[in-house]
């Protein structure tokens, strides 16, 4: 059994940022990551909204932070058990690691919605239907193409897939998809200026700083079209393209259109790790997201002393929000550890 | 204090020497209006105003109905200006709001396209050898009354007060669309807060009613009215306005546009005849006056000399409220002293209270 000051579960942006800030305050931090690689979902990101910052810059910055002398990083270390032992927390992993520490930070993040549940949208059935994550990967390698390797003439983005959907049990808004669709459509137009981009939405929620400006920019400079209506059916055409159907609710008329790629803006759900550890520790809230004791005044603390939360294990958050939350969590833990030593 | 944006807009009215262009609708339907206006300006205000026998249409109704081409319209307007120039005047005062809108529009187009002005000069010359100057000042007669409203008030025998209650009369003011909505910056208060009638009403003791459809069109709509099939749409607009003002119980409607006066007055008959609906008190409708008529009766003119008997909605209850004396027997007596006969009674709209 190894001792540490803090065990941080999850090597994504939240975990690394918190670990680094704790390390700077001279705490011995153990950072466990279930995958071979760190960065979590940041791994697949191409650019970040709203300023199109290259995600690789964020990755190298995060990587640099993990090199801090007070941080010990363990990869392939999926956490199997978190339990309380007297005043300490014990964290065991799948590869046999066993830590004991006065504080644990849960930064186990989110997973994306499995679009196969929405069969009528044809994901997993028609090759032209892809998820936003897959589209981001296409952008990253600079190859936006259909399954046949052709350049798409028209791309449609559909918002709210797996979010705001009672049928799949997710009533909440994932918050990032609207702006992400704007970003993706702009990136698509940057790489393929000839392509026509259409965003299908129920509501457009541009709540963050510069979001509205980006939305405007997508219309003004990139000719992205916005249609208020939810696509409810997808069918193949004779030439292996996709016909999407929705109602153009503003003109009160049904609308159909042929596209080459349909990008489903899949929502955010609690990751399996978040759900499992939350269950073990007893901090599970709604939709398996973890629950802090006070949203307004103690959003990093849980009802258990020494067990802290950071990032998207709590709710859908953007990257800057996640990082800020991680720093706030580090401060809370620092104060907690100091109170113990007094 | 709230900032009153309308004060930024100002109409420019010449001080004297007006060339008066009579209105087709006003002189036909509200026969006393123009006569008393000239009277007021000449005799009470002591101004020089020309009343030319040779005047003709401005073709505005044809133009706004989309049947008279632009060049024709401009040439007709140019002839009016030629008459003014021949008479030695520079200040054009069209009695009709549509004329007012049209001449402003024509002059504005000439300002932007001087070659058009030259072309029109050529047309007019070719047609009847006339030449013209573009007026230095175009003002509507209501602007003149507004300008001298205080002087006139001093001479008035009556005020806009209900003599029975002592309270101010509630007045709906209606501005013609072509007065303020084409060139809002050239009229007092612009298109949203036209002050011209408001100024008169407030100065003369009345209270302006601010109701939801205040800025809505009277319903004339030119081709909407001209084409029988569209006429229901025209009447529907007046109905919308009347329904909107009805809960405020206005004592009368004051308009500066002859068309508006005409439609808001006559459509009350049409609505009553086709749907059985009447507005105002006791089923008698809401009286509609032109600003000249109002000024005249306040100054003490005999209402029957002003032409109030030619209105569809009867004005006696209003006159009673204002305490204005009139002889009911004189109502349908002509200038010669002979009885002209009484008009037919409408089915629903009442012409006498409590009958």
């Amino acid at each position: 059994m190894n001792k540490a000051d803090v065990v941080v579960i999850g090597g994504g942006p939240a975990g690394i940022e918190a670990a680094y800030n704790l390390a700077r305050d001279n705490h011995k931090v153990v950072l466990v990551e279930k995958e071979e690689e760190i960065f979590g979902h940041m791994q697949t990101a191409y650019t970040l909204f709203p300023n199109f910052q290259d995600a690789s810059e964020i990755r190298s910055s995060l990587l640099q932070k993990t090199k801090h002398g007070n941080i010990t990083l363990y990869n392939n270390a999926e956490v199997t058990q978190v339990s309380r032992e007297n005043d300490f927390w014990r964290v065991q992993t799948i590869n046999g690691l066993d830590f004991i520490a006065p504080a644990v930070l849960l930064a186990s993040g989110f997973k994306t919605f499995d679009a196969r549940y929405k069969e009528e949208l044809g994901y997993g059935i028609y090759k032209g239907v892809i998820t936003s994550v897959e589209f981001e990967e296409m952008l990253k390698v600079g190859k936006i193409q259909t399954a046949n390797g052709e350049k798409p003439r028209r791309i449609a983005f559909l918002n709210c897939v797996g979010s705001r959907d009672e049928k799949v049990g997710n009533h909440y808004c994932s918050r990032v998809c609207c702006i992400n669709a704007v970003k993706l459509s702009i990136e698509a137009k940057k790489q393929l200026p000839e392509v026509e981009a259409y965003c299908f939405y129920m509501d457009i929620r541009m709540s963050g700083q510069f979001y509205e400006e980006l939305y405007r920019k997508s219309q003004e400079d990139f000719d992205v079209n916005y249609i208020r209506g939810r696509i409810s059916e997808v069918a193949p055409t004779f030439d292996n393209r996709l016909q999407v159907k929705c109602e153009d609710t503003l003109s009160q008329t049904p609308l159909k259109m042929t596209v080459d790629l349909l990008v489903l803006m899949i929502g955010i759900e609690a990751s399996e790790g978040t759900a499992r550890i939350g269950e073990q520790v007893g901090v599970n809230g709604e939709y398996n997201f973890s629950k802090s004791i006070s949203l307004h005044t103690a959003d990093n603390k849980t009802k258990h002393r020494g067990f802290f939360l950071a990032g998207t294990c709590k709710r859908p958050l953007t990257v800057p929000e996640t990082m800020a939350d991680a720093r706030a969590a580090a401060l809370e833990i620092d104060l907690y550890l100091k109170s113990l030593s007094q | 204090m709230k900032k009153q944006y309308w004060t930024e807009y100002e109409s420019k009215v010449a001080d004297d020497h007006y060339y008066y262009e009579r209105s087709c609708i006003r002189q036909s339907f509200f026969t006393g209006s123009e006569e008393v206006f000239i009277n007021i300006v000449r005799d009470l205000l002591g101004k020089d105003i020309a009343d030319d026998m040779n005047l003709h249409t401005c073709s505005g109704i044809g133009y706004y109905s989309g049947v008279v081409p632009l060049d024709t319209t401009m040439t007709v307007v140019a002839r009016l200006f030629a008459l003014m120039t021949e008479a030695g005047y520079k200040n054009f005062v069209p009695s009709c709001i549509t004329s007012f809108g049209l001449v402003n529009e024509v002059v504005d187009m000439w300002h932007h396209f001087p070659e058009k002005l030259e072309q029109i000069r050529g047309y007019l010359k070719e047609a009847n050898g006339k030449e013209f100057d573009v007026p230095e000042n175009i003002a509507h007669p209501c602007d003149i009354i507004y300008k001298y409203r205080k002087e006139l008030k001093e001479k008035m025998k009556y005020s806009l007060t209900n003599v029975h209650t002592g309270k101010p009369l509630k007045v709906v003011e209606h501005i013609g669309c072509h007065y303020a909505k084409i060139f809002p910056r050239q009229v007092k208060g612009g298109a949203e807060f036209p002050q011209v009638l408001v100024g008169m009403i407030q100065e003369w003791g009345g209270e302006v009613v601010d109701y939801p459809e205040r800025r809505h069109c009277c319903g004339f709509g030119f081709s909407q009215y001209m084409v029988l099939a569209n006429r229901g749409y025209s009447a529907a607009n007046s109905k919308k306005k009347l329904e909107s003002m009805q809960p405020f119980k206005p004592d009368f409607i004051l308009a500066n546009c002859p068309g508006c006066t005409m439609f808001m007055d006559r459509w009350q008959y049409t609505i009553a005849e086709t749907e059985g609906i009447t507005y105002g008190e006791n089923g008698m409708g809401i009286p509609v006056l032109t600003y000249e008529e109002l000024a005249a009766i306040l100054l003490g003119y005999n209402p029957w000399d002003v032409g109030l008997q030619t209105h569809q909605v009867q004005v006696e209850p209003l006159l009673d409220k204002m305490g204005i004396k009139y002889d009911p027997k004189d109502k349908y007596v002509g200038k010669s002293g002979a009885f002209l006969g009484e008009p037919e009674k409408p089915t629903h709209l009442k012409v006498k209270a409590y009958e």
Partner: protein, 115 residues
């Protein structure tokens, strides 16, 4: 009433002060999920009757909600009650039940009663 060769056009404004909103309240009593509709139009897009007509459930539902019943009974007669729309509704609105209830209210269709 006199025939003047034209009739005064009816206003196309939805005047909520004068609209009958009670009918919709009756629908909501039977189908509480009706309140959840956010008018995304997925139902209209997937509609089976849509292939044959201009039937637009979302629009009909909204007009009914606003108390504008003119012509709605004829519109509702286009629906085949197949229930496909219910399956695509994100908000879990029982669209089919809304149509069913609107139809009953508008056409005043009654059950047969036993002798």
């Amino acid at each position: 009433m006199k025939d003047l060769g034209f009739s005064i056009s009816q206003s196309r404004t939805i005047d909520l002060d004068k609209s009958d909103l009670s009918a919709y309240r009756r629908v909501v009593e039977k189908v509480p999920s009706a309140k959840l509709c956010l008018m995304c139009g997925a139902c209209t897009a997937t509609c089976t009757a849509r292939n044959h007509t201009d039937f637009n459930f979302r629009k009909v539902h909204l007009l009914f909600r606003r108390g504008q019943f003119e012509g709605l009974a004829e519109e509702l007669d286009k629906c085949m009650l197949c229930g496909k729309c219910r399956l695509v509704c994100n908000r879990g609105v029982n669209t089919r039940a809304i149509i069913y209830n609107m139809r009953i209210i508008l056409e005043n269709l009654n059950y047969k009663s036993i002798k």
